[in-house]
């Protein structure tokens, strides 16, 4: 049996991991196909502001165009907006789906960037050792001590806020943990006999790194990547929540930020993205934990 098939069988045994995976797959489908079935997430309609989900109602003062003044009306939920609307009458479902896109994009891309940088630095550091190791690891230490949020705020302040910039910023600052893990794994591998044996058979440095070292630490990298995705998602949400997110896109953090003022009345505006964040983070953590256990040697 191929090793990948073997590990898949083992991962399947962890029900929480499979539940996590199912949620992630559901989220990906939602993010990919959802926008074709929902109204535009940026469509504003003040006549439908703070519309609760069906079955709920909200008493609020609304502008009446015919009388030209504010009147207190009772807003009932409607199936036209199954998850309600926010304070500007935007459809919550559409916004949540748009937010799923943003979160997945940030989570996957930023983690991808961080993992690639971290793995390259970690492997180079451990494989070549000596001065290279010292320099790269001290650089990693410095990066680690740097206050990440402050750096993000600085970047947003200097270059303005865009999703690309946020992804890059999270990715370019989040590699330190990976670098350390990969370094320590490589250190224990590089003196193993099969590495020396493949050198004795004439393998080049690149071949050893990509053909022997990388596949052998891939399991750790996969686990670490899965477990760092929630971090990236939360970082973006946090940034958006404090108002430094990309104002052009509806992300869960943005929605949270917009809804916090009306938490007491229009609770769904904050609860819904909050739940999405919660379940997404939980799903990735469950999956990562399951993978970690599946990759652990023994246990058969």
């Amino acid at each position: 049996m191929k090793l990948t098939a073997y590990y898949w069988e083992r991962t399947k045994r962890y029900r929480s991991a499979m539940a996590g995976l199912e949620f992630i797959v559901f989220l990906i489908i939602l993010a990919a196909a959802g926008p074709f079935f929902t109204v535009s997430p940026t469509h504003v309609d003040f006549n439908e502001k703070n519309m609760p989900p069906p079955g709920f109602m909200l008493e609020q003062s609304m502008y009446n165009a015919s009388s030209g003044g504010f009147v207190t009306t009772v807003q009932h939920g409607s199936w036209a907006h199954p998850l309600g609307t926010d304070g500007m009458g935007r459809d919550m479902l559409a916004m949540l789906i748009s937010g799923a896109r943003v979160s997945l994009l940030v989570g996957l891309l930023a983690t991808g960037i961080a993992i690639i940088i971290g793995a390259l630095i970690g492997i180079t550091s451990a494989y070549f050792g000596g001065a290279m190791d010292s320099i790269l690891m001290r650089a990693t230490d410095i990066f680690m001590t740097f206050p990440f949020l402050l750096l993000l705020i600085l970047i947003v302040y200097l270059f303005g806020s865009s999703l690309t910039l946020i992804i890059l910023a999270i990715g370019l600052t989040g590699w330190t943990g990976t670098a350390r893990l990969v370094r320590s794994e490589t250190l224990s591998l590089r003196t193993r006999e099969f590495i020396i044996a493949s050198k004795a058979l004439g393998a080049s440095h690149l071949r050893i790194i990509f053909y022997h070292l990388l596949p052998n630490i891939l399991s750790s990298i996969i686990v670490l990547a899965t477990l760092s995705i929630p971090g990236a998602i939360l970082a973006e949400a946090a940034l958006s929540f404090i108002g430094l997110g990309d104002p052009q896109v509806a992300s869960w953090g943005n929605i949270l930020n917009a809804g916090q003022g009306s938490l007491q009345t229009a609770w769904w505006v904050t609860v819904e993205p909050g739940m999405m964040l919660f379940f997404t983070v939980l799903a990735f953590n469950f999956l990562g934990e399951g993978l970690r256990q599946a990759f652990e040697p023994g246990g058969d």
Binding site: L3, G129, F194, I196, A200, L201, G202, A203, H212
Partner: protein, 322 residues
């Protein structure tokens, strides 16, 4: 040692020094070692742990790792000094011309790839051959090293193989490019005795088939008697005696060799050596063996003996014979 231009010498090592520059001092793991390897012969390097056998072998392929360094010497192979080659040129020698097998078959194979993939990799690293060709060649190699059902075994992982089978795979990998010299670093010491004998027979057979020289490193006198043509005895980083197998076993000259051979079962008059091997950081002055030598005299403590050809082809480094 052997006359320089003797016919059929494939590898000639002269004055090889490999030192390890540690914080405790310079460890002279291999110090001024010289030997020749002739075409198609099995040459054994014997010595106890820490005598520098493995470092000698690694030095031949320039695989000594930091803090170790080859300080001096010449390794002549194919008309070139291996120590002068660039790393790229050296890579072309490794595996293709000189291959090496390691001690522990359990850790010599990459756990995440199938046996077939790994043997094929050894070939594609050097030759530009297609996957299909490589696969056919892998089957051939697996058959050559007596692995049954190669078509099935090709797709299996190292953990599904026994120690002896893994060592066969290592041999198949080493043979994949038909090297001129095979360095085997205690390839059978972690296997049980019956498997050991099978593997040794395989070495003897393959040596004939490929006409390759084998440098066989071991501490096992029984193995030496079984497969070697020539023997070099190492003690504390130097070769103290070398001769044909028959000569070594019948007429050992160096007191260390004598003590070593007296440990074979069935021999009378076992010579027990006192103390332990001295630290290679500060090897004893004079003859390195003098602190434990039962036959030492004044000169041994001060002057390092030189290598002398006592009988034709029998070299020994001892004041008793100068």
């Amino acid at each position: 040692m052997d006359s320089e231009n003797e016919l059929g010498t494939v590898l000639s090592v002269t004055g090889l020094c490999t030192y390890f520059f540690t914080k405790k001092g310079i460890v002279k793991a291999v110090d001024n070692v010289s030997f020749d390897v002739r075409k198609g012969e099995i040459m054994c390097i014997v010595g106890e742990s820490g005598s520098g056998k493995t470092v000698t072998a690694l030095s031949l392929l320039r695989l000594v790792e930091h803090p170790g360094r080859i300080v001096e010497g010449k390794i002549m192979f194919d008309g070139k000094n291996l120590l002068d080659l660039t790393l790229r040129e050296m890579r072309d020698i490794r595996g293709k011309k000189i291959a090496m097998i390691f001690q522990d078959p359990h850790s010599s194979l990459d756990p995440v790839f199938t046996i077939g993939e790994q043997i094929a990799e050894a070939m594609t690293a050097h030759k530009g051959i297609t996957k299909g060709e490589a696969k056919a060649r892998v089957y051939e190699l697996l058959k050559l090293v007596d692995i049954p059902e190669p078509e099935r075994r090709f797709h299996e992982y190292p953990h599904q193989f026994s120690g002896g089978m893994k060592q066969r795979v290592m041999i198949a990998m080493a043979l994949s490019c038909k090297p001129l010299i095979l360095i085997a670093d205690e390839p059978t010491s972690s296997l049980d005795v019956t498997i050991q004998a099978l593997i040794l027979d395989m070495f003897i057979e393959l040596r004939k088939k490929f006409n390759m020289a084998i440098i066989y490193i071991t501490h096992d006198l029984w193995v030496i008697r079984y497969i070697s043509d020539r023997v070099a005895v190492m003690y504390l980083g130097i070769i103290v005696e070398s001769a044909d197998k028959k000569e070594i076993f019948e007429n050992p000259l160096h007191p260390y060799t004598q003590a070593l051979l007296s440990s074979l079962p069935g021999k009378k008059g076992r010579i027990l050596l006192k103390g332990e091997v001295p630290s290679p950081v500060n090897p004893p002055e004079g003859c390195r063996f003098h602190s434990r030598c039962p036959k030492r005299f004044d000169r041994c403590e001060k002057i390092e003996p030189e290598m002398k050809e006592v009988v034709s082809g029998h070299f020994v480094m001892c004041h008793l014979y100068s």
